[in-house]
């Protein structure tokens, strides 16, 4: 078992290395990394592990919800 479940995978469903790249790209695209990680990716991950697969509409709702937290 080389990988196991690290903190980032448990929280976001994303491996640490990938998360670093995503944070960098947030800066490149002018997006708030905390918002992207916490309000989008973490919520998506939680939905995906507890619910059935989300369809397009479900993901749109999730983004709408995250947008409501943008200041």
């Amino acid at each position: 078992m080389k990988k196991g479940l690290d903190i980032s995978f448990v929280h976001y469903g994303i491996r640490r290395d990938d998360l670093d790249l995503i944070e960098t790209l947030c800066t490149t695209h002018g997006l708030d990394a905390d918002w992207v990680l916490e309000d989008l990716l973490k919520n998506l991950h939680e939905k995906r592990v507890s619910d059935a697969d989300l369809d397009g509409k479900g993901i749109e709702k999730l983004i709408e919800k995250a947008l409501s937290k943008v200041r």
């Binding site: 078992m1 080389k2 990988k3 196991g4 479940l5 690290d6 903190i7 995978f9 448990v10 469903g13 994303i14 491996r15 290395d17 990938d18 790249l21 995503i22 790209l25 947030c26 490149t28 695209h29 002018g30 997006l31 708030d32 918002w35 992207v36 989008l40 998506l44 995906r48 592990v49 507890s50 697969d53 989300l54 397009g56 993901i59 749109e60 999730l62 983004i63 709408e64 947008l67 409501s68 943008v70 200041r71």
Partner: protein
């Protein structure tokens, strides 16, 4: 994730199964042997069912799943239990997941699930109150998904034969794309990008100041949505059609062969029937000939014999008659003289030329006595002309005795008639081979194939049209009426951001995947060993392609690889994805050698299985991995070997240690 132990009670061929699957770091393989029908696939299903649950909608299905040796199936309990471990935050977690199924008093299947995670228990069942059940179920699902999501299990717990079948469909690039998107987790970024784009378009429309522009923009967005729906629909129909083709391919080929065979069988039946008919016709002809022969027996047998016996005498008679006739030439016969005498006397009397009463008789007498008549004696004067003719015919006739030919015919006919029973038997046997199968399936399959082809064209058109509209939408002169809105601004950035994430992640893993695959293909792809120069994955996930290149520079076209090579390509991809993907599952392969040929099998055994995963469970028949030759190649990597022994009489499978 490591599988440690599997227990199964009353499940299909297993009355009681309890098997240790644990492995060591340097011995990652568990080798399980079983003859065909020995219970390998059921073992596979037991693992799958223990992890993700059995689907038992009614009592009938329940009874089908219960071990056949149970005296009272309705009172049986099917229990599956899998022990596994996984590392969570650097701590080793031990899990025991149990699922029990039984029929309740109303004979409805009920389920009970229990997960023990290092002493923490999560439990739910059919009878658990809804809210409590949802909470417990979510926890269990979360733990399973964290270790190996069900949707990815098909990549890591798979039947190699299925992989082989899939690849026959020339869909290798699609399979590879799906593997990469799903196993590497890129799908979610693409889904997020698409959802963000849809939202952005509808938000944009709401912000357009000029009503006309808003209307136009919304129209375009609607058109795009409509086309997108059609595209998705066409894709899913195409997928269904391809899936149908995949599922029914074997049946189709069998039916098609069957149909060809049936046509051949029918032709043969027709030939046999014709043969029998000819024999009957010959028999009728023979009978007619025999009858005719009997009727004309004297003409066919006696006359020739008579002619043969009397030939000399008759010839002499005819010769004498002939000579007599020759001699008589130039002389009048008595009758002629008498007739002429009558005429002369009549003439003399009527002209008063005679002074004496002269009679024709006297004149004839006179002429006969004094005239030079032929006095030669004809010894056969008594023979009539017809009799002379008959004698001539008798000795001059050409006689053909049909008896020998009839005898020959009879011999042949006896043999032929003797064959009729055998021919009829063959016809019956051939008729029995006509399956009476429903060949409408052939048409359905071919229709589905052409539908898939048609949909391919439709999809390409939709994509082209969507791209055109997207360009127009992107070029739209958006003059927003309000002050900049941070939410809208964030939304605007999401699509390019997520697409970038997906592509950058692919890019960062691409080189590793390409390199690992190149090395593994050079080792395992027997037909191209050591000649693969590079493996190339494209950089854009939306249009992902996978290519192989020969050291000589040319591309090795995936579709042109033989089936065994295609299977190796997919297995090599699986190993790379296992190594660089998000999850760390065991790999379990049923029918391990799938469609591999001898050379590929040998190579894969030595180079592939030992390196595939930290735990590889191989379910194999003795002809796939042979005890004599193949086992030695992996023996040093094998932690445990078992053999599934089928007790046919009791319909049970027992597990014994050792490989065959």
């Amino acid at each position: 994730m490591l599988l440690k132990r599997l227990k199964a009670t009353h499940f299909k061929t297993y009355l009681q199964l309890d098997i240790d699957l644990s492995v060591e770091n340097d011995r990652p393989i568990v080798l399980i042997g079983g003859e065909n029908g020995g219970g390998k696939t059921t073992f596979f299903e037991a693992i799958y069912g223990a992890l993700y649950g059995l689907h038992i909608p009614n009592a009938k299905v329940f009874r089908e799943l219960v071990n056949a040796g149970i005296p009272k199936p309705d009172e049986a309990k099917i229990a599956l239990e899998v022990h596994f471990s996984g590392k969570v935050l650097n701590e080793e977690q031990q899990y025991v997941l149990s699922r029990t199924y039984m029929l309740n008093a109303e004979l409805k299947p009920v389920e009970s699930v229990r997960l023990n995670m290092n002493g923490s228990i999560f439990q739910y069942g059919t009878a658990t109150p809804l809210a409590q059940r949802a909470e417990q179920e979510a926890q269990v699902a979360k733990i399973i998904k964290a270790n190996l999501p069900k949707e990815l299990s098909r990549y890591f717990l798979f039947d190699a034969m299925e992989a082989g079948n899939l690849l026959k469909e020339d869909q290798l690039n699609r399979v590879i794309r799906e593997n990469i998107e799903n196993v590497m987790g890129f799908n979610k970024y693409l889904q997020l990008a698409k959802a963000a784009q849809n939202l952005f378009e509808s938000h944009t429309a709401q912000r357009l100041a000029v009503e006309q522009e808003k209307k136009e923009y919304l129209g375009l967005v609607e058109q795009k949505k409509e086309l997108d729906k059609k595209l998705q629909n066409a894709r899913s129909r195409q997928q269904e059609a391809l899936q149908y083709a995949l599922t029914h391919r074997e049946l189709y080929e069998n039916l098609k062969n069957g149909l060809n065979q049936e046509v051949q069988i029918k032709n043969r039946i027709q030939q046999f029937e014709q043969q029998i008919d000819n024999i009957y016709k010959k028999e009728t002809q023979y009978r007619n000939d025999v009858e005719a022969f009997t009727r004309g027996l004297e003409a066919h047998v006696f006359l020739p014999k008579l002619a043969e016996s009397l030939k000399t005498e008759v010839s002499l008679i005819l010769k004498a008659k002939n000579e007599a006739e020759n001699e008589q030439k130039g002389f009048l016969s008595k009758e002629q003289i008498q007739a002429v005498s009558v005429k002369i006397v009549e003439y003399l009397v009527s002209n008063h030329l005679s002074n004496k009463d002269l009679t024709a008789q006297e004149l004839a007498q006179y002429l006969l006595q004094n005239n030079g008549t032929n006095n030669a004696q004809d010894p056969y004067y008594f023979l009539e002309v017809a009799e002379i003719k008959a004698l001539e015919n008798l000795i001059q006739g050409t006689y053909m005795n049909p008896f020998p030919s009839l005898t020959q015919q009879q011999v042949e006919l006896n043999i032929a008639v003797g064959q009729i029973t055998s021919l009829k038997g063959q016809i019956e046997t051939l008729k029995a081979q006509i399956s009476g199968k429903d060949y409408n399936l052939l048409k359905m399959y071919e229709d589905t194939q052409s539908l898939a082809k048609h949909l391919e064209g439709e999809i390409a058109e939709y994509e082209k049209e969507i791209e055109r509209i997207s360009k127009r939408i992107a070029q739209f002169d958006i003059q927003v009426s309000e002050e900049p809105d941070p939410k809208y601004e964030a939304l605007k950035k999401l699509r390019p951001f997520f697409e970038d994430v997906a592509n950058q992640l692919l890019k960062s893993k691409k080189q590793q995947l390409e390199l690992t695959m190149k090395q593994d293909l050079n080792l395992n792809l027997a037909a191209y060993r050591d000649v693969i120069d590079r493996v190339e994955l494209s950089e854009d996930l939306r249009d992902l392609s996978f290519k192989l290149y020969h050291k000589a520079g040319n591309e090795i076209y995936l579709n042109q690889l033989n089936t065994a090579s295609k299977q190796v390509v997919v297995q090599v991809l699986l190993k790379a994805l296992h190594e660089y993907g998000d999850y760390d599952p065991p790999v379990m392969i049923d029918t391990v050698m799938g469609v591999l040929d001898k050379t590929s099998r040998s190579t894969i055994l030595e180079n592939y299985f030992p390196q595939l995963s930290h735990q590889t469970i191989l379910l194999s028949s003795d002809s796939e991995i042979t005890k004599e030759n193949d086992l030695a190649k992996i023996e040093s990597f094998v932690a445990k070997t078992y053999t599934l022994k089928r007790d046919k009489e009791n319909q049970r499978t027992e597990v014994v240690a050792g490989y065959f």
